[in-house]
Assembly symmetry: D4
Homo-oligomer: 156 residues x 8
């Protein structure tokens, strides 16, 4: 079980990108809107819900002053993966720099920006879940093999 | 009454810089260590304490993934002023970019980096308090006048 | 009473964003065009007018070599909030770096870039005014509560 | 079992930081020097060794043109965590930007720069391992609680 | 003989820019898709093929976490020229910083970003090949002369 | 006659670098401390004094939120040359970005950072004065020739 | 007499912006295409022509690796003003950083980016020429006054 | 034969780093001081000398507004490799950005910053020379093998 958290409804498209990948690999994922800044108490509730539900990985996407992943990491001992989302200004570098220097003991694994970042957060989550799920592990191996084959075949 | 919050004991020197200024101007200020990442529940308590104590301005200094001012701003309607502190890498630009693009409706007034940033957060807090305190307002005017005079006199 | 200053007519849309927020909260705000570079004496007059009119907060938006907030801060002891506006080049980082390291004793509270920055400058100004205006304070509390509720409800 | 890979002997101090943390938590970790640029075949061997040995997480620290984490991620489906190390010039931003935009399907979880980055890679690895190790999970909870308590006590 | 390597089919337009220049100057060039991250073993094969085919220069274009040129440089003693390609975010600065600080002994000659970077990688490769090919050298001299003449003539 | 303006006494060393160059070339130069932020009215007086004294070039050095050159340019039609001074944080890039995008019609000629920037502001001022002073022009030619000779001789 | 130099025909629009301003103020200006990289000998000729023609200011606009202003400054003792032009990538910051740290003794006055930079180079050139041309000086004063008036009137 | 050019005597240490490498590999290299800005005509002479002497690669190291490699590339059709040198401010990023976007048709192969950059320029030059020198090629292969072995052995 994976929880995907986004700060606002307008960022949901990014979350859906991740949800699609989890579906493809047969992993349960649940998408939540919970802003660290606008709804701090609600965010605490969502993290608590997640822990009760047995969430194994939290994926958190946020833009601008991107505090969502860090706040979730402050509340749980489960792995937290962060994704930066470009705001209207500064091209995403601000969300990235909001996330990459977490204090010692409260890690966030930063997985990149935007859609690709969200996809890679999903893949990293799958890799984590696959450590104890051989079926999933072999699906990931197939996926990796297929990537290599497609790359070879691109040479006509 | 002003609350100055810092994420860790090692940043306290910055807080003391602010405390000294408040003392000079006869304003009560209280210094707290409360990390957004290491002690999120404690931080909520400190903000609640502050609101009960009638705090008028929260000053929050933080480095790296600087989420402290944003988290405080998520919890209170009182003015929050943020100060960035340079971590070992990236020279403070990360703490700055963690703070300057807060989402609409949850403002933080960013006052600069390090010691000078902390001093200016204190002065901006004094200016806010002086809006309803004529004595303090006239002290600030004197201080401003003195700055100008010293600058003139530097020309020997 | 709040004064909103912009360097040129072409930036007025940003000022109107702020004016709308003040109207919503029933606070008087006045919008001025006064360039630090093109009309320095006029700017001094506007600040003097503002002080006479009992302005409590100056909000200053400027782009490029963004000196307007700093010049206003040099002239008044009232709180000055700065907003950066992206010029054609450099994406706003220049206006931000023009504002975030004011010298000690002459603070500017930087509230962000563009429309969101302007909105947050307005909200921070409202928070400052609410310190001595219980009605306004309770409106801000309601607004905050509503933000949290909307965020919750976005989970359908 | 965790493998910690560094590009050169001179970076080993960072690896030892991680090793110490794994020891504290009773987790087996093994430190390797294997440069993506100087010893690409050796690096392939180390990754293969790791997979055989049942490694669950690869932690890779690299500076400058930091390709080590990405190359390891290209070779394995196990989670790869990256840490940037500041070279003589550019202050670490280059190693960070070498790691944060991996192509879709080949994730690296970036954990920060230098010593703190390495510590957080270790903590994130522990959180991953703890998903199927209740003893480790409860140690991490204690550690988290202790962090919070120390932060509170700093106000002593 | 020159090999031009790109990470994915979607970047091929950049490779064709180079191929066109090599054709103009009568130099054999071969375009390959081989991703350092998605198809590491295939990439090793391509480099080995190239060495057998007597490739004198490898041109490698890559975006984001741009590891392709570095991985090729780790595998061959032939000159490797790198070109950065702007990904959706960060405007190419990330691909550039992924390439410009290679470790001592494993050089990559960085030739710029995008189409112009690719063209200049082709021209630098031609200059290298021309060292032992007088005909090519004189073609390059003519090309240089023509550039100067066109620049003069632009003054009508 | 040249006026060199600095924001604070602590920056005077930079001004003296320029004064020395003017002395070498027999040009009158006068050094002033006048802060745009701490002493705005005094700065207006200094510029007015300068205009009365027949100043031909204003050189303004400033750090952090470097508004001094821009404010002087707002007050005079004489050429204004700006020099950035690195503050404790951000390494001078902030002072540079505070100066390089002045609004149309209010130019500042940015001459660089620190001591070298100040020297080059002095040399550019000399080149401006030399347009109507043949003696000075020939001294500058000699100086240029000497630079070239010393560079040649360094190969001795 | 002013010479405006641009590296390629495609940048001429920027030069025309400056030419228009010089025409408005009745100052002779001449526009040249002369690339430091594509036509170095032609560029030397243009600078020599300019010196013979009595040029008082060289304005040089260049993008990317912007070496044109520096090369001109290496060849003449007349004031050289530089303008950066944004290339396809990096948004102009590269042209700016190519120009702002000239070595001591070879100054370039950097006037900004793109059209506004070119306009301000023209205005700074006019200010330089006005030092010995009272008519021009009074036109510049009028222009400045008009700017201030328009700014005031914008409050209409 | 390789020419190594540096702008000033104070940068010679970087040139010696390269000279040492060429000596180790039995390749003739010659070190020159020739500033693009202080001694443009001398620089033209040095390049002409180099072409006559049969130079196969020019290595050019420069700091700040780093125009040396670009000016050399404008004068010759031989490969030019550039190295950035950090000036007192901006940490070398300025010299890098002065070099990485050369215009189409005038390539510079950028090899990095400071000592490591200079070493890699030397190694890339050796790789270029080795294309027609089997002995040198086999020395480079041995060197590469040794690097790999040392890396392996670092694992004790």
């Amino acid at each position: 079980m994976v929880y995907i958290l986004l700060g606002s409804k307008s960022d949901q498209e990014y979350g859906k990108t991740a949800v699609d990948i989890f579906e493809q690999f047969g992993v349960k994922a649940s998408l939540w809107v919970a802003s660290a800044h606008r709804a701090p108490r609600w965010l605490h509730e969502v993290v608590a819900k997640g822990e009760k539900a047995g969430v194994k990985v939290f994926i958190c996407g946020a833009g601008g002053a991107a505090h969502l992943p860090g706040v979730v990491a402050s509340l749980t001992c489960r792995p937290v993966l962060g994704v930066g989302i470009a705001a209207k200004y500064l091209g995403g570098i601000d969300s990235m720099l909001s996330l990459v220097q977490m204090p010692s003991g409260v890690p966030v694994g930063f997985c990149g920006l935007g859609e690709t970042g969200m996809k890679n957060a999903a893949y990293l989550a799958l890799q984590i879940l696959a450590l104890e799920d051989k079926k999933l592990a072999s699906k990931l191996h197939e996926y990796k093999k297929k990537m290599e084959e497609e790359n070879r075949k691109a040479n006509g």
